[in-house]
């Protein structure tokens, strides 16, 4: 068996280089075909009717007029939609119509008549006292004696914070093109994060064998955790195709529906008490939190976050169910909220202690699982943002424009998912690498190519990476930052397994044995001896007419032992903001992110992910909030005008420091997507506190919240 371990850092020729993404040219030329871009022969377009009420019962439903419209090919009601059915949130799926054009499909939707009995709803959760029976206690966790420790504390913090629901707002909406052809063969082009698993889920929804479903997703326009399942509209689109004689049906959510039902990040609110000694040592934590992610309630979040080993703690959580669109995983599920709640409270505690929060975070680094790493990262981030000169006592400063700095911290797992890879060495010297994986824009395709090229001693141009189809060997869904660890490991193993077979074929011609050979610079040579060598092409000719096909696999349970990928990523982010105390407007000046993620395959695309995560944090700290109306039960901003995301002028300077050093590199490959998307919101909120000397208890820190906080009003 080959030695799979990664080549030492200083011996790598391709991994670790700053390389442009392979699919960059086709994307930036506008020629990459996303699922929503596909227009196969005979295509029908679909439109969806959704519930106009947050909680209501269907009295009657009439689709006759819609069916009669010229151009309509089929109408499907969603599961259970019939007289007597109760919808639980506005936007819930009711009917899907296919037609010869999108315009006609929309006309048909408008022609469906439904009579409703409207029922009472609850859609807002910031005030726990107002949600009544919708709140369910979700358990208590006690460590040590929190009441005694808090009672005896020198300094006590008693405060409250909130972070609202935000949406995924994928630019390519959820949806698919699908054709249910004769013989129950299905061609399926979903915008998905789960090329290898989505067919199995669809199969169980529509009752055809999973093996009959051919999934293709070459590119996809953003998922952020919300694009794993086939979704009810995927199944109904398939049935529309079947009922329309097998013609392909395209259905993608419109923007309003995308922002209403295609995924949200749960809210989180908490009342937090912290006790500490005069020197800043934290002795106790008590929190009462609540959250909602729609009808299914809201998850607890891991607080106290990162500083988890506080000796005395009591943690209570209530799950609130609301009549609103359901939650889906959102980049680092529950961690950004936990980081915001914890780091806000720690920063406010520092103020009570008249202590620099950086000193408080450092002082208590022993409460984290990786004291040395966080201490180093806090120091590095402080250096990059010039904390020494920028930090001042909260609110200290003159004039109407105030500046401040703040800290947020992060932790994540990021171990590799199950992944299989097939490497094919062809007798003509060409190489193909196949995985049922997907590139969400992370650079996955490029990283796979880099690992294969490094392992085979070939240039990137010699490798053809084939992903995006479920006919390739199964690779896990891209969630939880598990992809890079999984695919890099399976690709490494498959490449070396294939190479070993090639060595066996060429060893006799080089007068040696397979175990004495290596692949370097497009040559197969006796280890360390370029004079006893043959070119890759010559070597390939020795394999005979059949290609060499070898598999490689990442088995998560074995990964830690093998060391190609592990888990545990730490990060620290700091922000500097400028707040106009007259208008309440917050502007980003600078943000720094210090991030470790083990061995970094491609620093260029890795940095891009961290830049992106910082910008997402700016969005969530300053702009993003799903606004929902208790009177009508509807989302008021399901668009991109009033559901605000940062634009180019809103982000300030961003500095990313990938913590690339041997001590981290030796840990193997670790996922990056989530950990960098956690600490930024807290950092920005804390920077605002430092600027103003007044806590704005809820993000996004909008102008009205700033002015209310300055007016010393509690505002949620």
């Amino acid at each position: 068996m080959p030695e799979y371990k990664w080549p030492p850092m200083n011996k790598r020729k391709i991994m670790g280089q700053r390389l442009s993404r392979l699919d960059g040219p086709v994307k930036s030329a506008g020629r990459a075909k996303y699922p929503s871009d596909l227009n196969p022969q005979g295509l029908l377009q679909a439109a969806m009717l959704t519930a106009p009420y947050a909680h209501a019962k269907i009295k009657s439903i009439d689709t006759a007029a819609a069916k009669a419209l010229p151009g309509v090919t089929a109408i499907r009601l969603f599961d259970k939609v019939a007289p007597g059915f109760e919808v639980q949130w506005a936007g819930q799926e009711l009917a899907l119509v296919s037609a010869t054009s999108e315009e006609v499909a929309r006309d048909a939707i408008r022609a469906i008549k439904i009579d409703w009995e409207i029922l009472p709803h609850v859609v807002k959760d910031e005030n726990l006292a107002k949600v009544g029976t919708r709140a369910k206690a979700a358990g208590e966790k006690v460590t040590g004696d929190p009441d005694k420790a808090y009672g005896e504390a020198d300094v006590k913090l008693d405060s409250e914070y909130g972070i609202p629901v935000i949406t995924h707002c994928c630019l390519e909406p959820h949806g698919q093109v699908i054709a249910w052809k004769g013989g129950d063969q299905i061609d399926y082009w979903p915008s998905t994060q789960a090329v290898s698993t989505v067919a199995g889920q669809l199969a169980s929804l529509i009752g055809v064998p999973a093996g009959n479903i051919n999934v293709t997703c070459d590119y996809m326009g953003g998922g952020f955790g919300s694009k794993f399942p086939p979704d009810p509209w995927g199944a109904e689109s398939a049935r529309l195709s079947k009922e329309s004689g097998g013609r392909p049906v395209k259905f993608f959510l419109d923007r309003a529906t995308e922002l209403t039902i295609a995924g949200i990040r749960p809210s989180h609110f908490a009342k937090i008490k912290i006790g500490a000694k005069k020197d800043g040592t934290i002795t106790s934590w008590m929190s009462d939190s609540w959250s909602s992610g729609g009808a299914g309630g809201g998850p607890a979040t891991p607080i106290p976050y990162v500083f988890a080993n506080i000796p005395n703690a009591r943690i209570n959580h209530a799950s609130v169910s609301l009549n609103s669109g359901p939650q889906r995983a959102w980049r680092a599920p529950n961690h950004p909220q936990a980081s915001f709640l914890t780091c806000s409270a720690l920063t406010d505690l520092a103020a009570k202690l008249s202590m620099d929060p950086l000193a408080l975070f450092m002082k208590n680094a022993n409460l984290t699982l990786r004291e040395a790493t966080y201490t180093d990262q806090l120091k590095k981030a402080a250096e990059l943002i010039d904390w020494k000169n920028k930090y001042h006592a909260p609110g200290e400063g003159k004039g109407s424009i105030r500046r401040g700095v703040g800290i947020g911290v992060a932790t994540w797992g990021g171990g590799g998912h199950a992944s299989k890879c097939k490497v094919i060495l062809h007798p003509d010297g060409t190489v193909e690498v196949e995985l049922g994986s997907q590139d969400l824009g992370t650079g996955n395709r490029t990283c796979i190519s880099m690992v294969a090229a490094e392992s085979l001693g070939l240039p990137m141009s010699a490798i053809k990476v084939k992903i995006g189809k479920n006919s390739y060997p199964a690779s896990g869904p891209s969630g939880g930052s598990t992809t890079i660890g999984g695919v890099s490991t399976s690709t490494r193993k498959a490449s070396l397994n294939a190479l070993e077979k090639l060595f066996e074929k060429v060893a006799p011609a080089l007068g040696t044995t397979a175990d004495q050979l290596e692949a370097v610079d497009s040559r197969i040579q006796v280890k360390g001896n370029p004079n006893k060598a043959m070119s890759w092409k010559q070597a390939a000719q020795k394999m005979g007419p059949s290609p060499i096909e070898e598999m490689g696999e990442n088995v998560p349970a074995q990964a830690a032992r093998e060391g190609l990928n592990t888990l545990g990523a730490a990060g620290v982010q700091m922000a500097e903001v400028e707040v106009d105390t007259e208008t309440g407007i917050v502007k980003m000046r600078k943000m720094v992110a210090v991030q470790d993620c083990g061995l970094v395959v491609n620093p260029k695309t890795a940095e891009s992910q961290v830049f992106g995560a910082c910008i997402m944090s700016i969005c969530s700290a300053l702009y993003e909030e799903r606004v929902i109306d208790q009177v009508t039960g509807r989302v008021l901003n399901p668009d991109m005008e009033f559901y605000k995301l940062a634009g180019l002028p809103d982000i300030g300077e961003i500095v990313v420091h990938m913590d690339i050093q041997e001590v981290h590199d030796k840990r193997g490959v670790i996922g990056l997507g989530e950990p960098c998307a956690i600490g930024g919101t807290a950092a920005i909120a804390n920077a605002v506190f430092n600027a103003l000397g007044v806590r704005v208890p809820m993000v996004p820190v909008t102008a009205d919240r700033v002015l209310n906080a300055l007016g010393n009003k509690r505002y949620a």
Binding site: K33, T442, I615
Partner: protein, 210 residues
């Protein structure tokens, strides 16, 4: 087409630009005009015109016939009826810029213009920037600076950047930020976009390839 129509389109083209200033706390007037006017047109249109009509559009220097309904936007005509899918449908309300195309040399959101209003005008889409397999200097700068992740906003950004550079061949950093403020990216590629546009300014003489 009358010059009045052209000035109306100018307002629409500026609405995304204005939005960012408005987020920063300035006025809102132009936004309302730009976004609402086409919707009002679409609602009124069936009284005088209905069903599909065949029109001829001048796209990337070629005349192309296409059947559209009066309510069909230029964007939907391109994507659904002509298989030109570089321009993306994202917000569909003139906010995000993913559908950016050039009409008579001006940057326009394809979702805010009706296809029938584009008759007789020179339309350029991302597909017309460079032959297949080649890269326009602006696209190349996006690749070099990794100014894209999922890439769904990228064609719109490239078109907006090209239109911006046509008017500002030697932009400052601040001009780039303001000039590209009418496009939104969810993955957060703005750091790369800023660098890409500045790099493209060096390699692309604005207007020469318009």
């Amino acid at each position: 087409m009358s010059s009045n129509n052209d000035s109306e389109k100018d307002k629409q083209a500026q609405s995304g630009f204005s939005r960012r200033s408005w987020l920063g706390g300035v006025g809102t007037g132009a936004v309302g005009v730009g976004v609402l006017a086409p919707e009002a047109d679409a609602q009124a249109a069936p009284k005088v015109m209905s069903g599909e009509v065949e029109i001829s559009l001048d796209i990337n220097g070629k005349k192309r016939s296409v059947k559209v309904e009066p309510r069909t936007t230029l964007l939907d005509a391109l994507r659904n009826r002509m298989d030109m899918t570089g321009a993306k449908r994202v917000c569909d309300r003139g906010t995000c810029g993913a559908c950016t195309v050039s009409v008579n040399g001006k940057i326009v959101y394809g979702c805010t213009m009706l296809a029938v209003d584009a008759v007789g005008k020179n339309i350029q889409t991302i597909e017309g920037l460079a032959p297949e397999g080649q890269l326009h200097p602006v696209s190349a700068a996006f690749v070099n600076n990794d100014a894209q992740q999922c890439g769904y906003c990228t064609p719109g950004f490239v078109m907006a950047a090209k239109g911006f550079l046509d008017k500002h061949p030697n932009p400052t950093y601040e001009q780039v930020e303001k000039g590209l403020a009418g496009n939104i990216c969810r993955c957060g590629t703005y750091v790369g976009v800023r660098k890409a546009v500045l790099e493209a300014a060096k390699n692309y003489k604005g207007g020469s390839n318009a």
